[in-house]
Structures are given as C-alpha cells and as structure tokens.
C-alpha cells in the first residue's frame, strides 16, 4: 500500500533498489540495456512502494503527453456519450489519459480547446457536429497534431474524419415514407449551424424533388428543454387546420429534435401522422406508435475514430481518410403509416 501523504518518486524507487534514477527509469520503461537482475529489483521496489510515474514530469521532458483530448458539443446527448466511452476505452488500453472539454453553449473553439493544448495532448478527437470549415481553427491545429473529426459535415483536407453519409441518410429516410404513399412530408432540423443535419436536409430535398414533390423544412433549435414546446407550436402550423391539407409525414434529422417531436406529437395526440427519424432513441420501441429510425452505428464511429487517432499518434502518415459507417433502417411502425384517408394496396 502506498502511503497516502505524498506520492513516491522515481528516486525513491531507485534508492530502495540501490541504483540511480537513470537506471530505474530504463528498467521501468526504457527497456533496453539493464541487467535482468537489476531490472527485477527495480520493478519490485516500484511495486512495493506503490510507484506510478508522474506524467507531468514525463510529458514536460518528452514534449508531449500520453493523453488525448476529446472535444464534444454536449455530454448529455447519448451520441456523444457513446463516442466518449469508445475513445476512453481505446485510450485506456494504450495507457493514455483522456481530457475532455465542451465546445457548445457559446464557447469559442479556441477557448474550448485551450485546456487541452496547454496540457500537450498527443492528439484530438473533435465531435462538435458544426465544425469542419477547411480554413478554420481546427485546420490550424491539425497541422501540428493528429486530429480526427467525428460527425463532421465535410472531410477536411487536414484531418481524418469518421461519420455517416449525411446526404444519403436524408435521402433514404425520405424515400422510406415516400414509399408508403406520403407526398406532403416535413423535414425538421435543429438549426442552420448544425451542418451535418443540413446535409441530411439536402438529401431529403433531393428525394422529394426526384419524386416530384415540394420540400418543406423547419428548425427546432438546439436547446433540448425548449424543444418540445417549440415543436408543438411548429407542428400545429404544418399539420393543417381541417380546411387546408396538412402534412402527413414528419422526418427528424437528429436525435435531439426527435425527442421534442415525439413529445409534441404525444401532446397533440396525433398518432396518425407518419414519423421517422435519423438516430435511434432509447425506448423507441415503446413509443406510440413505435418509432422507425435510421440508426447510426455510433459505437463503430467512436471506435474507428480512436483507432485512426492512435494510428496517427504512433506515426502513421497516410493521406487523410474520410470514413463513412453504414446506416441501418429499423422499421418499427411509425414510418410505415399510410397517409390518412388513403389506403395503400401495393406495398
């Protein structure tokens, strides 16, 4: 057991083993060039004293830390939680620490990243959903350290990226409800700044136009708390007043928005409106009706991001790779409703 007063240093271990700090360091980490016998003595002393290296000192000396940074837009969103979990796991396996920071709620990217850079992290996973301008702050960063972007709208020429094909996702979701006879379909995004969601909207518009229907979209904004209230107001506007024909299907571009829409539809008691969403939600099979979703494989996205990052950290020097992880449609019912007043026969 380590004494709980003050951490034991390498010199303590060396002294206990009857050698010098230099040799002790080599015995514990350096590997080469130490007698087996002496190395064993050092390792035992380290064990007995409960030694663990002071990483600040090591990092200062080596010029980079065995830690990576993770920049996330919002920790309360399950998507990001899963990314963090995967990255932390990969880091832990390699003996790396993980320092996190939040880029949301009005903080600038510089401000968000400073706590990471000032700790000399060896690389960065950036999952903000909004970043990715090739001329931005991240590009600057990516030229001096490995950066992997997650859920980024565009592949940057300076960094690796892992995500989904957003345009195709929007198209596929749209085609799903079109196939069930819908023509007046509303797409709901979170806001113009969420560029991945905007790409999904683009896919939606492509699919609508290809089918000969007019696209119609709106935004709910970013704050989950307010989302349900806004959704009620927004939906009432589009659902029709009995005289004008309203929309018959709703598509949600992202989980946060789905949460709001699901509550709003429940409050309005409109279970007749078809509804499908990008991103799965916990309990979606218990919704009324059960929610059809186009699911992202978030675990794979997080795991691949970590793999790419550590490959770079370990020196891999290939061209930036932009990976797209396949999506999976989970049909649970809500997206398969036919438009009210119309019976489908062919499907």
């Amino acid at each position: 057991m380590a004494g709980s007063t003050s951490r034991v240093r390498l010199v303590d271990v060396a002294t206990a083993a009857g050698t010098s700090p230099s040799t002790a360091s080599r015995a514990l980490h350096g590997g080469a060039g130490v007698t087996d016998e002496l190395a064993a003595r050092v390792r035992q002393a380290a064990r007995e004293l409960g030694y663990s290296v002071n990483r600040q000192a090591r990092s200062l000396r080596r010029g980079h830390d065995t830690a990576i940074g993770v920049v996330v837009e919002d920790f309360t969103i399950p998507y990001f939680g899963t990314i963090v979990a995967q990255v932390e796991q990969a880091a832990h396996e390699r003996g790396f620490g993980v320092v996190i920071t939040c880029a949301g709620s009005g903080r600038s990217e510089e401000e968000a990243v400073e706590p990471l850079l000032s700790r000399n992290v060896a690389g960065l996973v950036v999952a903000t959903g909004t970043a990715g301008a090739p001329e931005g702050f991240l590009a600057d960063l990516a030229s001096s350290m490995p950066v992997v972007q997650v859920d980024a709208p565009l592949g940057s020429p300076f960094s690796d990226a892992v995500g989904i094909d957003n345009v195709a996702a929007g198209r596929r979701l749209t085609e799903h409800v079109l196939a069930h006879g819908h023509e007046r379909v509303l797409f709901v995004g979170s806001g113009p700044a969420a560029s991945t969601v905007e790409l999904r909207r683009e896919g939606y518009e492509q699919a609508m136009r290809a089918a000969g229907f007019a696209p119609l979209s709106t935004h709910l904004g970013f704050l989950p708390v307010e989302t349900a209230d806004r959704a009620v107001v927004a939906l009432q506007q589009y659902l029709g007043d009995g005289t004008t024909p309203g929309i018959t299907a709703i598509l949600s571009g992202v989980a946060r928005v789905t949460m709001g829409l699901v509550s709003a539809l429940a409050r309005l008691d409109r279970r007749d409106v078809a509804f499908a969403a990008i991103d799965d939600l916990v309990g979606a099979d218990a919704f009324n009706p059960p929610l059809t979703v186009l699911e992202q494989d978030v675990e794979t996205i997080g795991a691949r991001a970590a793999q790419l990052l550590f490959a770079r950290i370990e020196g891999w020097d290939g061209p930036p790779s932009h990976e797209q992880v396949p999506l999976r449609m989970i049909e649970r019912g809500s997206g398969e409703l036919a438009p009210a007043g119309r019976t489908l026969t062919a499907f």
Copy 2:
C-alpha cells in the same frame, strides 16, 4: 495568430516584452508587484504571440494541477453525462481542465484512477454508484485530496457526497402505486452490486411491509443491450399465466432497468400493468402509457458536487457534508392505473 509549428514559451513572451521570465510570470498570473506599464507590455506580447501557459510545467512546479478528475461508471448513461457536463462547466469557469476515466466493466478502482493521480489532479468527482465502502480505496484517496462522491450509497466519513435519499425514494415510489390499489408489486433492480439501487429496494420493502403486503423483487443486471431480452423473460415469470394471479404493478429502481422494462412491456403488449420508475427518461411522455417517474434533479446534483469539490480545493475545511437533493414525482399515467378487474372510487 500563433505559429502552428511549436508552442510559444514564457521566455519568448518575456524577450518580446524586454523583461525576464520571472517578471513575465508575475505580470500574467502572480498579480502583485509589477509596474502597470510593464505588465501591460507583457500581456500584449503574450496576446500577440498567442501564448498560453504550459500547464504541465506549471503543475510540476506547483505540485498540483489545475485539473480535476472525474470517475464515471458509464458515459453512455444520461445520468452520468449530465454529471460530467455540469462538472466540466464548473471547471471551465475556474480555468480547470477535466480528465475522465471509466470505472465500469471490470476495471479495478485503482486502475481506473491511476491516469488521474499520475496527472496530479487537484481533486476528484467519483460517480460510480457502487463505491463508498468507508474502508476502501477511495477513503485512502480522500485523505490525500478532495473527493466528492456522487450517487454513493453511504456517506463516507472521509469525503463529501451528493445524491438523493435512496431509501425514501423507494418508499415514495412504492406508496404511489399502493395508493392506486395495487398489492402485488414487483421491484426491479439492476444487480446486488449497485448499492444505491439496493437502498431504493429497501425503501420499497419498508413501504410494502408497512402496508401489509409481501415484497417481491428481482434484478436485470447491468448490460443495457441484453436488458430488454432479460426483462421479457423475467416479466413473463411474474405476470401470471392466467390461472395464478400475477403482479399488477412494476417499479423500476434505475434508468437502465427502466429502458429494458419499457421495451419488454411493449413487446409483451401489457399496457394494463402499472409501471413507475426512479429516474426520468427522454420521451417518457410519449410512451404507451406515458411513464410516471420519480425524477432526480441530476443537474443540481452535478452542480453541487462541483461546488463542493472546488470549495475543498480552494481550502474550505468543514466536516464532510452529505447532501440529498429533493426528488420530484412526475405523474404521467403509467403509475396511476388501477389493478385490472378492480375499480377504484376513493381516489
């Protein structure tokens, strides 16, 4: 703009401002004892060069880092995501970094915490739900640095703690369904190791016994993926086979379990069984029937934990405080169902 090749050091700033590192350091952080004019020159040089302090060096010199550690059981669970978000926010406001680690999935506490200790974090927020043995590893830690426990079963004599009154929560949830005429009520926990959930079960048993009914409880385990399948199996066993009278109400002790139960009840199409849970769930108002919950104010729990931790870090030396944040019952319908075949008049 900072050059992107190599970080600028304090000595660079000092040189640019025509002074020494000592004075530059004092001008930027130390505060006292530098001419206004010189201080201004240093600050401008720092700004122009894009200087930001190397925290590893600072920490090494000062003996402790301006960073805190957060130990979490599982980042994908919204409860912990909210704790992390709150703590990160508080840390950021104080110029502290946040390094995280996961204590779940078979890692020992020592192993989980090592990456934090080896970085000399100034304090720890520990949210593992299972820890809290007064003689454990954490107690050892708490004697050498500030530790705040979140969601801990017992108040440790060595550290602050923030959470809820778990026994009272179990009692209150139980009394809710008892008030609607239920007598055969099943409590579902996650596993014997989750001691906060076990305390909730204790409250449930107290309430059942006080009402003269026999308590009946089971566990679903920890893995969210398997939970729904296990829940189906478990529920079939308790719901009765038509000849024997089954349970008429189910209580869930924690969010992960609720997710499984909600899916299982949907699959079994048993909307007649009353159901109430501790912890709110996203979309709970869209469930069928809408889910009644006893909600934890997780944001307040996280915020208070951070406040306590930083108070300790800044030197506050009061006795360990064990705070319990009030709960809120959200009645949405699922817990208010009367037992099938029995009509209530009095409520």
